[in-house]
């Protein structure tokens, strides 16, 4: 139910925004297309997009939703005559690769470090790590990416300066993976460094709260192995709020990753968004926003499902 409303809000926002723009979106689009497309194609395009001025706003809205259901997002101006959906289809896998890899690594390491820090409360690691990671997590993603690019790729030459693959075309063939990983390593690393602090700090604080619970004292009194109490009793319960945090920060991570992609000329959605902005490619711009919104919603939905698997209390309700 909630996801339905959120999806509807995203779709509607996407419909309204260009229509709030000063001037007529149809005319602006027309001006952008002029000289590049034959007039008949423009007419067909207008009708297809509900930009027909003889229709009321409601009719336009209906036409827009119907087009969306057919997966028709319009034609990109930058990559004319490629349809927007195709441009996005090429960009999406790269963003997924980068974000998925970086986020999972960051979540795992951060959570584990949080467990260790809380367990050895007041120890060396616990006094140093939170301070350091408080700082790294307030680094501007793109600036840290610039610094890394400058020192590790440009000065030291250890990493490629940009792109996601060697040569002109990337492919996900098995033999290409070493090359893909080599290109993803540095952008991925910058995302991990700038996002790991959040996981560490929240996991540490959750652990500390959990460790004050009676069942932990009980487990200790029973003489269970420390390792078992640490992971199976304390961490397992403390990780639940972290999962919620994980879901909610997906949107934030995506925003950061978009900027990181731009710095590294990594051919994902962020780079596509930049192209759309620079070329005033409105159809592509709208399509990218829509795809990102839907993807984030979907990710949230998946985390929700996972949460139900992990927390029996929710399952029984």
């Amino acid at each position: 139910m909630f996801y339905g409303v959120a999806l509807w809000a995203a779709l509607t926002l996407n419909f309204i925004l260009p229509r709030l723009m000063p001037g007529n979106p149809a005319e602006i689009l027309l001006a952008r297309f002029k000289g590049r497309v034959n007039p008949k194609a423009i007419d067909a395009f207008m009708v297809a997009f509900g930009l027909n001025q003889h229709h009321t706003l409601i009719q336009q809205y209906g036409a827009y939703l119907v087009q969306l259901m057919h997966g028709n997002l319009g034609i990109s101006i930058t990559y004319y005559p490629e349809p927007v959906i195709q441009v996005l289809g090429q960009a999406l896998p790269w963003t997924l690769l980068l974000i998925a890899m970086a986020t999972i690594i960051s979540f795992l390491i951060g959570t584990l470090a949080g467990i260790v820090a809380a367990w050895h409360r007041g120890g060396v690691f616990d006094s140093v790590a939170p301070g350091i990671f408080t700082f790294t997590s307030s680094f501007p993603y793109f600036w840290f990416a610039l610094i890394m690019l400058y020192f590790l790729a440009y000065k030291a030459g250890w990493f490629p300066i940009g792109s996601a693959y060697a040569g002109n075309h990337g492919s996900f063939a098995l033999s290409n993976w070493p090359d893909l990983l080599y290109h993803t390593a540095l952008p991925g690393f910058t995302i991990v460094v700038t996002s790991i602090g959040g996981w560490l700090l929240s996991m540490r604080n959750n652990m500390i709260t959990t460790m004050g619970q009676d069942y932990i004292h009980m487990a200790r009194a029973k003489g269970l192995a420390r390792r078992r109490i640490m992971y199976q009793y304390a961490a397992r319960n403390a990780i639940l709020p972290n999962m919620t945090g994980f879901a909610l920060s997906i949107g934030f991570i995506v925003s950061g990753a978009l900027l990181t992609e731009i710095v590294f000329s990594y051919p994902g959605l962020g780079y596509t968004l930049l192209q759309a902005v620079q070329n005033e490619d409105y159809p592509l711009l709208q399509g990218t926003l829509l795809l990102i919104a839907v993807a984030v919603l979907l990710a949230n939905f998946l985390v929700d499902l996972l949460y139900v698997r992990l927390d029996p209390r929710v399952r029984n309700q």
């Binding site: 307030s138 501007p140 997906i250 900027l259 731009i262």
Partner: protein, 310 residues
């Protein structure tokens, strides 16, 4: 109806709530992290406030020899267009902080009003507001702002401040709502209700004073988020790039190949400033958490004592 054990529980809860409110400054300053954070943030605030004193060069003057490394005349060198980086940095600090503080404050106000009303009123209004909050929570902010900024090029900072606030209030509203939910049945609220206070008075005069530390922490996060968003937006050339700010400095540096010409003095200072300012705010928040949350605090003291004995 009155269950003695239940009232006992709520009483202890109420007293812990009251304890949360009274954060004496000396106690905050006792906390190393908070002190370090306050010093960092004060430093940048001073730089922003004292901008006209710290430099006499206009940040837009392009008459100097381009790409000079730091020297006696130009403490941070010059840009590729022959502007003084120190003067840009100082004025940029002022511009970025204004956007950060204004957008952060606006987002916090939105969060307080929506979150507290939603939690206190309950019923259909609560459900509606909660839905609104959750929708804003999952719609990714930056891409949305990018699209809006492309359609409506910003002439001044105000539209930017408003749109950043509009996309960043939801997290705070959610946290505050759940706090109000736990507090609205407490005896002192009940008593005020019996005394015939209006709902608005109950929410803002009775409950809100107990949540200052939480609201303050929302404000800190709001400022960090606003500064980062503004910088990110300007970095890709949106927003008002004619205003000198940390973000626009990075934009010009990147677009003029500061990286490839090795002009580190051009692109390191603004980014480092964002990191240090944001880190400072985060440290204050972290320190406050330790001061106000007895669980996090008690242990720390014990650990320190143990360290002293050893």
């Amino acid at each position: 109806m009155v269950d003695p054990s239940a009232t006992a529980k709520t009483h202890s809860k109420a007293s812990s709530v009251v304890r949360r409110r009274t954060i004496a400054l000396p106690r905050v300053l006792n906390n190393g992290k908070a002190t370090a954070g306050i010093i960092l943030v004060l430093f940048f605030v001073l730089v922003g406030v004292l901008a006209p004193v710290l430099t006499h060069i206009s940040p837009n003057v392009e008459t100097f020899l381009p790409l000079q490394p730091p020297n006696a005349v130009h403490p941070l060198g010059t840009t590729g267009q022959g502007q003084d980086v120190w003067s840009q940095f100082v004025w940029g600090t002022r511009a970025s902080l204004i956007v950060g503080f204004a957008a952060g404050a606006l987002a916090t106000i939105l969060a307080v009003v929506i979150g507290m009303v939603s939690g206190f009123v309950g019923g259909t209004a609560d459900e509606g507001l909660q839905l609104l909050t959750n929708v804003f929570l999952v719609i990714p902010g930056l891409p949305l702002i990018v699209v809006v900024a492309t359609y409506f090029p910003f002439e001044s900072s105000w539209p930017l401040i408003v749109i950043i606030a509009l996309t960043s209030w939801s997290w705070g509203a959610r946290v505050l709502r759940s706090q109000v939910l736990g507090m609205r049945e407490l005896p002192f609220v009940e008593a005020a209700r019996m005394a015939g206070e209006r709902t608005s008075a109950l929410v803002f005069r009775e409950i809100m004073p107990n949540m200052w530390s939480l609201i303050f922490s929302q404000l800190l996060f709001g400022i960090i988020a606003a500064v980062l968003t503004e910088a990110g937006l300007q970095f890709i050339g949106l927003g008002n790039i004619n205003v000198v700010s940390w973000g626009s400095m990075l934009y010009w540096a990147e677009n003029n190949g500061a990286l490839l010409t090795g002009a580190w003095w051009w692109f390191i200072p603004p980014g480092l400033a964002i990191a240090l300012f944001g880190g400072g705010l985060a440290l204050i928040n972290y320190g406050l958490d330790e001061v106000t949350n007895p669980r996090l605090r008690a242990h720390r003291r014990r650990a320190r004592k143990r360290g002293r004995n050893a």
